[in-house]
């Protein structure tokens, strides 16, 4: 069976992990925002901006990690814009988020044209190269799949672990989760709901932008206009799929990425000759919708998600 051959090949799993990496960054970012009670629909635009900012910084002469830092800061700036409107002003999180996506995308394209007015194809940079972790990368199947990735992929998984640690094991994480569940409880302890929520949106948006930058600095070596291509919206669904828990969200990202990697490979098999290729392109999305329906039935949504907090009101 060709399917079994694919599923047992190291290159398939290596591709799945690679495709999952930007999703993990952005999903974790979105998860942090939502756990604090703010739905951040600016995610798509922030990823576009992050992809561009990281790439243009490296093209301009910064080292690759410098590019990552620039993307992070860009995302945090955009997150600050979102949080000012959505938290202290308490405006509709849908409108603010979609507006931010439009703004960030347009600003990116504008900046691109200002910086590179004459070019027809965008210049290439030298992207992150795979780093083989000693010993671990020698393991059969798992070694090439998990431990021969670029440093940014390792960073994505480390970030997810750290986020879980902070959310569940520190007073800060508890305050963030409580702000998304019952902001009155946070305010009653003399903590600032506004500061906690704004902080979560700023930090979360930074991670989304790094997810975007993964595309230009690690997956490819250049910037294209449509390269984010709805990944942000997928991440919104992945947060629901993961029931607002970092571990399950990572699992969801890998699962979606595996479907994506699988469909490319299936196109080249015997079935691919018969079935139109669009069906394969649809596959990850359809399977994700199905998985979402099954997994999110009993999820505990943060009770105060999308509920603005006004001090002194009940």
């Amino acid at each position: 069976m060709e399917l079994i051959d694919i599923l047992l090949s190291a290159s398939f799993w290596a591709a799945a992990i690679r495709i999952a990496s930007p999703l993990i960054f952005a999903t974790i970012g979105e998860l942090i925002c939502e756990r604090a009670g703010v739905l951040n629909l600016g995610i798509e635009g922030i990823m576009v901006a992050g992809a561009f900012a990281g790439w243009i910084a490296v093209w301009g002469g910064l080292p690759l990690w410098g590019g990552v830092a620039v993307a992070l800061l860009t995302g945090m700036m955009l997150g600050l814009v979102h949080s000012i409107f959505s938290v202290p002003f308490g405006l509709s999180q849908h409108v603010v988020g979609v507006g931010l996506t439009l703004l960030a995308t347009s600003l990116t394209f504008y900046t691109y044209r200002v910086v590179l007015p004459e070019v027809s194809s965008p210049p290439k940079i030298t992207a992150f190269q795979p780093y083989e972790i000693p010993l671990l990368s020698d393991l059969p199947l798992v070694g090439p799949a998990l431990f021969s990735q670029t440093p940014l992929t390792y960073a994505a998984f480390i970030l997810a672990g750290l986020t879980a640690l902070v959310l569940y094991r520190t007073p800060l994480g508890l305050a963030v989760r409580a702000a998304g569940e019952n902001p009155q409880a946070v305010a009653a302890q003399g903590l600032s709901v506004t500061a906690i929520r704004m902080g979560a949106v700023v930090v979360g948006s930074g991670f989304m932008a790094v997810g975007g930058a993964f595309l230009t600095l690690s997956a490819f070596d250049s910037f294209f206009f449509d390269m984010v291509n709805g990944r942000g919206w997928i991440c919104i669904a992945l947060v629901v799929f993961g029931a607002w828990k970092p571990g399950k969200a990572v699992l969801g990202a890998v699962l979606f990425a595996a479907f994506d990697a699988l469909q490319i490979r299936l196109q080249q098999t015997g079935i691919g000759a018969v079935v139109p290729y669009q069906v394969f392109l649809m596959m990850p999305y359809i399977l994700s919708i199905l998985a979402l329906v099954v997994m999110s039935r009993r999820a505990e949504i943060p009770a105060a998600l999308m509920v603005p907090f006004n001090k002194g009101e009940r």
Binding site: R169, T170, P171, L172, L174, A175, R177, A178, E181, N182, Q184, A185, V186, A187, A188, Q189, G190, L191, E300, P302, A303, K311, G312, R314
Partner: protein, 514 residues
Amino acid sequence: MTQKEKAQVVLRLDGITKRFGPVTANEDVSFALHRGEVIALLGENGAGKTTLMNILFGQYTADEGSVELFGQPLPAGDPRAALDAGVGMVHQHFTLAGNLTVWENIVLGVDALSTASLKPAAAKARIRALSERFHLKVDPGAKVGRLTVGERQRVEILKALYRDAKILILDEPTAVLTPQEADALFATLREAIASGLSVIFISHKLHEVMAISDRVLVLRHGRLVAERATTDTHGEELAALMVGAEVSAPSIAPANPGAPLLTLRDVTTPGAGSAPGLARVSLDLRAGQITGLAGVSGNGQAALSDLISGLIAPASGSMELHGASPKGWSPRAAIANGVARIPEDRHKTGTIADFDLTENAILETYATRFSSRGWLDWSGARAFAQKLIAGYDIRCPGPDIRIRLLSGGNMQKLILGRVLEGAPDIILANQPVRGLDIGAVNYVHEQLAKARDRGAAVLLISEDLDEIMRLSDVIHVISEGRLSPEFARGTMRPEDLGRWMAGEGFEKGHTDAA
């Protein structure tokens, strides 16, 4: 405690004045709280109790006056200052997050946000020790959303004790408890007081104030109008001080019950989520009789009220209205059979906040009484609204005011008028006086008694046992969807009903319900 310690002033409010625009919420309020003392703060809704506590907790800044805690002036407008100085508050609406566990709720905000780790094991051990010492039984690892209301209150108190609170403020703490739970709370408080805790007890239940406090402060229209040592006063005097006039609860004449208008026999309904359905419930609602339904909230009251208002149909058993079983039970059928309801939550399901008074007055009848050929009859509707305003003493600038701007009491009078104007046969009154002041409570009770005397069958659902015992001609207790036998007025003491509310007696009881 030595006498010297007892004389120590732990909290002093001096000349507190707070204005919101033209409204004065607190005017020149001064008092001192001593170590190990219980002060009861008594007052009607809007008397300024909550504003005063919000000033203490830095939510508001006083326009004049100062607060001193343990001899140190309290910085104004800093919510953490009072907490850090050892003041804990148990809010009437609990400030707990349902999806988090008990211990997470308790330690929230205790350590600085920059602290590296929560140390769950140590926190849980400390909570267990505290709950042992103060008899506040609760599992630290349980999710708060799964706890009963009584248990949640214990979590709130533990929250304060965990922070080594020296002053505990309780805002209407017994509103949601059974009498037994309230007694347990008082026992816990007495223990804490003996070890030096000072308590401010906010309530409008006079017998509790008499039972627990050392001193009573009465607030009226934002002013401190009286201060009494509890031993030197009595309930009637306090009630009069609270409203500024002699109050008399409406005297309820003996009932003159007629034929049953609604009969349930062995009715079972499915539960919804954590709320139980009805389990083989038999009930008669008789004309000219008020039937009280006592019970801790969430024990099937919702199922019974949904059943009677037509939202759900019996899964098994029989239901008869006016001696015949209705076909196709729905809210429309219920209204057609003369069922009217005063909904449990007047804000959520009783009114539309941003509609004006006229629109709210015709919410249930706009399609029948106030429309012709598909057009609304606005002049008729306005006349109806005027009639309700005059007939039910709704205090408002006029029928065009947005309902949001009315007080709870006036909102409830509107709902009451809307319901009673249709002269319904069966009145489902679900928590009709929750959150109202004494004047409005008496008015609502009077009107319900009048409807009864006109021949309506009234079902009064309430968590307030005093209300049930005062108004009902017969009482049932509901627990986990089961209904107790019918108890006639005056045959049961609160403790007896409390035992039924806690679920005792049902093993042999529910099948012999008359």
